[in-house]
Structure formats: structure tokens, C-alpha cells
């Protein structure tokens, strides 16, 4: 297994290099000069040139890329065009809030959705199943911005149970309780979709598993429903569920752009939108690279999880 992991990590290096080149080309292919956003409308050519020089945009594209690459290898991801702050600390400061938001969302979603999916599968065709699948249908259909604004209006503006947005009370202490309090509404919004989505997957997977011969054999052997479910049902349903989790996990850093905007959550999603709007090329490169690293690592993690849950899968 160690050899396999080392091999996968080594192959990730050229992949990341290719991704960085592709990202650099695509970002710079965008029409328009980012310098225009960082000068006054009446800027003279000399003032434009001074800003272009300060942003490092006065060099040719290959030189710009090589400069970025050599600095990135030393842990310097450049500066923000607007604030001139180093990109890396800004990026790092946004990872925590986004991981907290998305991590909590995914965790809450799986804890609720997996049992609901199993119940729905076991009660297939009953009113319980109809209720759960109907609820799941509504959950995947309801737009985030609509639900978010609705929850803010009811629970923050009218009832004042939760804050309208942000992650901490400004001027207050940065306590875990304060973060949890601020997390409730955005997590509720995001979880609505993930719970609905995962419930449907689990239900469908469990229905397939219940139709397998080994379940019939186990039933014929006289095993209890509980044992059949836990020892044979869930275990065999885990592989497709892990695949779905594998597609969800990169969102831990991808963030939830709309929800972060609505709830003013200081995460990576909001940073991405700002970087796009302001043509913050170094920031966009850094976010792209971070996303690529996370996707590669999660894919590796998922492959390892397959081997853990299914002894038939071996990598060495």
C-alpha cells in the first residue's frame, strides 16, 4: 500500500504542473487588461505602466509563469493585486472557515441521510418511503439562495435566534460556541441539498443490495434483519457511497459560493468570486492549485477507503 501511495503522489507532481500551466493560460486568455481595474479611469499611459510593473504584468507570459512557478515552489504565491497582501496568508485564513462550513455540512448530512436512505429502502413502497423520497425531491429542488434568504428572514431577522451572517461576533471573542452559533443557518441551507441527494443514493444502493443473492442466502440461514443489514447490507453498499463521498469531499475547500455570499461567510467561495471579479490572477492561480491538490488527495483517499471496506481490493 505504501508503494502505491508513493507512486500516486509522484504522478501527482506532473499533473499539478500541467494544471498550473493550463490555469495560467486560461486565466491570461481572458480578454481585458487587469491593470485597468487598478488605476483611475483617467490614468495616463505612464501611470498604467507603473501599476503594470508593480503587479509584474510588464513581463512576457512565459517569464510571468516561470516567476510564479519558482516563487510558488518556495511557498510564495504572489501578492493580491488589490490589497498587495501576500496571497498565501489570505488563502490560509479562508481554508478554516470553508472547511468548518463544508465539513460540518457533509458530516451532518451523512449522519442524517444514511439512516434515512436505509429506512426508505427497507420501507420501499410504503408511506414512509413516499414521504422520504418526496422530501428528498424537494430538498434537491429548492434553490440555496431562496432557502437561505428565507431562513435569514425567519430565524435571524424576525426571531433573532441566529445571526444574519459572518462567522464571529465582531468585537467579541473567537469562541467555538460563537462559530457554532453562526454555522447553524448556512449549514441548514447546505445540508438540505446534501441530505436529499445522499438519501436518494443510499436508498437506491440499498435496494440493489437487498436484491442480491447473498442477502437471500443470509435470510434463508435465519439471520436477523439487524445482522443482515449491518453485516451484509451496509457493508456492501459502502463502495458506491464512498464514491459519492469522494465527489463531495473536494467541496470542503471548493466552498459554497452562493451560500457564502448570502451568509457573508469568510470562506474560499467568497474569495473566489472576489478574485474573479477583480481579476486577481495570483489569487485565482492559488485557488486553482489548492483545489487540484485537494482533488488529487481525495481521490487517493477514496481509493484507499475502497481497500479498507472491501478486502478483495488490493493495490500491491
Amino acid at each position: 500500500m505504501k508503494k502505491y501511495i508513493a507512486k500516486r503522489l509522484l504522478t501527482a507532481i506532473p499533473v499539478l504542473l500541467m494544471i498550473s500551466i493550463a490555469a495560467f493560460i486560461m486565466i491570461n486568455l481572458a480578454p481585458g487588461d487587469p491593470t485597468n481595474l487598478y488605476v483611475m479611469p483617467d490614468a495616463t499611459p505612464e501611470q498604467m505602466e507603473a501599476t503594470r510593473r508593480a503587479l509584474g504584468l510588464d513581463q512576457s507570459y512565459p517569464v510571468q509563469y516561470m516567476r510564479w512557478l519558482t516563487r510558488a515552489l518556495r511557498g510564495d504565491l504572489g501578492i493580491s493585486y488589490s490589497t498587495r497582501y501576500p496571497v498565501l496568508p489570505i488563502l490560509v485564513s479562508r481554508i478554516g472557515p470553508t472547511v468548518a462550513l463544508m465539513g460540518t455540512t457533509l458530516l451532518v448530512s451523512y449522519i442524517i441521510a444514511i439512516p434515512l436512505g436505509i429506512i426508505s429502502a427497507r420501507k420501499q413502497g410504503t408511506w414512509v418511503d413516499t414521504l422520504l423520497t418526496g422530501g428528498a425531491f424537494i430538498g434537491v429542488s429548492i434553490p440555496n439562495f431562496f432557502l437561505g434568504l428565507g431562513l435569514i428572514y425567519i430565524f435571524a431577522v424576525q426571531l433573532k435566534w441566529f445571526p444574519t451572517g459572518g462567522m464571529l461576533e465582531l468585537g467579541g471573542n473567537a469562541s467555538i460556541l460563537s462559530v457554532l452559533h453562526h454555522l447553524v443557518l448556512p449549514v441548514a441551507v447546505l445540508s438540505t441539498f446534501y441530505i436529499a441527494n445522499m438519501t436518494r443514493y443510499v436508498r437506491s444502493t440499498m435496494i440493489d443490495v437487498y436484491g442480491e443473492n447473498y442477502i437471500r442466502t443470509a435470510t434463508a440461514k435465519g439471520l436477523t434483519k439487524q445482522v443482515i443489514l449491518t453485516r451484509h447490507g451496509i457493508r456492501n453498499a459502502l463502495i458506491p457511497i464512498i464514491t459519492i463521498i469522494g465527489t463531495d469531499l473536494p467541496r470542503l475547500v471548493g466552498g459554497a459560493i452562493v451560500t457564502e455570499q448570502i451568509f457573508q461567510w469568510p470562506g474560499l467561495g467568497r474569495l473566489t468570486i472576489l478574485a474573479i471579479n477583480q481579476r486577481e490572477y495570483p489569487m485565482l492561480m492559488a485557488i486553482t492549485l489548492l483545489s487540484a491538490v485537494v482533488v488529487l488527495l481525495v481521490n487517493l483517499l477514496v481509493d484507499m477507503m475502497y481497500a479498507v471496506v472491501d478486502p478483495r481490493i488490493k493495490y500491491d
Binding site: 487588461d33 483617467d42 501611470q47 490560509v92 478554516g96 460540518t104 459572518g166 468585537g171 473567537a174 472576489l274
Partner: protein, 554 residues
Amino acid sequence: MSTLKKMLRYSVVLFASSVLLAACGGEDVPDLEDAAVEGSETESDDLPDADADDGDTLMVGLTNAPDSFNPFYRPGVAGTWVQRFFYDSLLVMPTADSFEPALGSLETEDNQVFTVNVHPDAFWTDGEPVTADDVAFTLNTIAHPDAETTLGPNVAMIEGTNDSGIREEGLDELPGVEVVDEKTLTITTKSPVDLAYISEFLGFGVLIAPKHVFEGIEVADISNSDAATKPSVFSGAYQFVEYDNDNYVHMVSNPDYYRGAPEIENVYVRVMNGTALITEFQAGNLHMTAGGGIGMVPVQDIGLLEDIEGLVVEEFPSFNGQYMIINNDTYDNAKVRQAFAHAFNRQLIVDNLLNGRGEVLASTYTSATPYKDPDLEPLEYNPDLAKQLLEEAGFDFDTPIEFVVPTGNAVREQAGNLIEQWLVEIGLTVNQSNYDFPTWLAMAQDLDYDLGLMGYGHTVDPNIATYVQTGGSSNNMAISDPVIDDLLAQGMAGTSYDNRFPIYQDLQQHMQDEMPIVPLYSDSQFGVKVDNLNGGIKEYWAGSLHDLHEWSFE
């Protein structure tokens, strides 16, 4: 089952770690921690209570992220607005036509040599006095050929600078800036100028920087230096503590402020979108908006704020206008350009898209400026006349018109759709395309369009040479009209409102006759604040912070 248990255990650990991570470090950019004000009682891990009721914290809503805290380089309005909390200018502008001394005074007898007297009690927050050397250093740095600055036009009247405000070759310093003594200097302009013009551009527009902080840094490197990005020495009513990127700026009062210690201890300027601005007001979490174009409440939602008890919503005319820019190379016949203006029902845009909260523009200026000609009416909406003018000009109705509408301003995008429809109604063929603003600006600079929509913000001073003068740096319309050039030159040579106003009246009439750019509308600006706040946004928005140190809660 043990696998499931392990997964559950790992999940719980993941959850706890992520929340802890967010709680411990998420709100702070680590590098900014050491930017906390020296000697301030409010380090970022010991922040004051934000409870509004005790009157020690002001929460301000801002819809644009501040970009720069560098007094020499201020590309964005939001950054400039925030900087005014902690860097002072020589003068303040309580209204559009009045100036008062702040960090200094500006006086002249001949409109060419101006004497600056720096306030005798003004000190930087590190204890150094604010001197004439600071003022001279600031002006010389802005004019330095290596400087990355947005303030060239603000010093371009000083002797020794070129038209861009850059120091002439062969000079080491500006000959027009002479330090007389510790608190006095003189500024000599290239030719006599209106006192109001130099007061607005130099006296109010330039924020004075601390020489002893910046003088050791190469001028070309100032923008990216810690001194500029993490300011630590201030002359204003407040002191910068930290900026959490795209989230909030925290400032604390300057107890030794030379105009009197501020009443309110803490200011948080929070960055949020227009919708969040409304919900934060509804929840009672904000005391005021930043107003202007950087505290924008969507015009259709203003009514929601007006319904909130305890909020004061005031409507002011704006210095910003929306225009249809014309490629004057393509449309070099004034009849064609006038036909476009007659084709548009601009009153309908104001009535329906702005809910009546705005004005139709007759020419270049909005009613916020004293230079707007009150007798000049907008061209009437008359599609028949528009069609007739096009026919008289021999216009080819079958050639498609490339019409560009920038994204990012909902009302402007809707107006763009109406304009396309009105152009089609008079028989024209129109290809409308929508681009983000940077792309559109690049197209405009290359004259790669026929018609397009653009917003312009004006100063109180009526000079619009950069937009409409032949070769003007923002003349993206290929306007080249000797009459306009001559009137602009005459206007700048005037030394008082009385002798300049008739010249700009002629300019407005000429612009309407020749229609090189079609003025559309100007949407109102709004000042929103809680009714127990003494202070807030004024009618002249840019000068709203002039009495910041006196703001208080009742």
C-alpha cells in the same frame, strides 16, 4: 461494523478540528496581526464589546471591498473612503461648494501662489509632529516619475509637473513646492487656477502621508511595502487596526486627534452585498451604510429600509451618471448621434427602473454639481424625429450596430435591453452583447464597438477633459472636436465660479448639439443610518467624514 465506527470516529475528529480551526484562525489574516496599532488598547485578540447600545462601536456597511490603504495610490472609491478615517487631508469639504481647514489651510492672493499652514496641534500617532515637510514629501512622491499613483491629476497644476502630474525631466524636486518653515509651505501653480479647483483636488483630494515612515523606501516599491499595506502611523480621527480581506476593516479612535478625540471608540466597516446590507439593517446589526457608490442598496429595495422603524433614509442627487458612449469614428454625423438620443425614452428608465429615484441627464453633468446648466432640458423622446434625422443623414439601416452592455449593474443591464428595443423600433439592426467590465473597457479602449453603456463619476470641479478632450486619457469615443477642446481650455483658465460657469454652460449646450455621447440618467444616492446616530452620510457624499470625530450615539 468496526469500519463504520472508525469512519464515524474520524468524522467527529474532522468536525471538531474544522470548527476549532475556524474559531482560532479563520477571521484573521496572520500577517496583519502585527499591523495592530502600536500602543492601542485593542489588540485583535482583545477586541472591545461590539454592543451598539453602549455607544462605543459604529458598524458601517460597505458593498465594495476596500482595495488600498496606500495614501499615494487609491484606485478604488472604497479604499479612499476608508483611508479618510485614518489619514487626513489639508482641507475637508462639508458641502460641494465649501472648504474648511483640517490638517492645514490653503490661502492665496493671486490664485497662483498658495500658502499652506499646517495645523499647529497636529501630530502623528507615534508622537511626531505633522509638518510642512510631510506635505512637501507627499506631493513630491506623487509626482515622482517612478511612483505608482492614481493621484497625478491632483497635483498636475503644480509648477514642475507635466499634464499627467509627473515631475518634469531634469528636476529632482518640484520647484512649485517650497517649505518655508516647520509648519508653512507654498505651492506655486503653472498658471493661475480657481481656488475651489486646487482646494478640491489638492487640498481635499490628497491625503498627507508621514514622511518619516515612507522616506526610506524606494518610491517604486512603496505600493507593495508594509508601510503602505499595513499602515501604522496616522493623522486622522481613527487608527487602522486590521483588515480581514473582503470581510471587515477595524479601526479604533485616535485619542490625541488634533481636532478633538472621537466620541465613538471603535469602527467596523463591514463588506457585504446589497441584499445582506438590508437584512443586517433589519436585524439591527448596522448603524449606517457607507453610502455613495460603495454602500449601494438596490433601488427597488429602498422601500424595505424606509419601512424599518428607527432608520433614517435620505435621498441625494449623485455625481455619477450613466451614458451611452458612441464610437465617433463610426458615427461622425451629429444628426445620427442626435437621432440616438431622440430614440430613447429616458424618463421611462428613471420612472420604471429607478422607481423615480433619479434624473434624466440633459448633458454631461448631474444636478449634484453647481455647474449643471439649470435651463438646459434633455432632448425629447421622439422616435419619429429620430428616424427622420437618420434618413436625412443617409444612414444605412441594414448595417448592424454592435451595442455593448457591461454586466454588474442590474439597472444598467435592464436599460440596455430597453435601448436595444428602442433602436430596433426606429428600424435599426442591433447586435447586443454583454461583457464583464474589464473586457468591455478593453474593447472601448480599442474602439472595438459602435455603441455601449458606461458610467462616469464626476468631481465638483467641472473639468471633464480626460473624457471628451481630443486625446484625453479616458476618451474612448474618438471624440475630436476643436470647440470642446477650446471650451475646456477656457474653463480651466478661469479662476472663479462666476467666470467659469458661463463657459461650462456653453460646453453643455454644445455637447447636446453635437451629441458625441448620449447622457442617459443618474440614479440617486442614499444615506441610511439609525436615528440615534449623530453623524453619517451627508448630501455631498465624498465629504461626509469631515466631522467624523464628532459623531456619537444619543
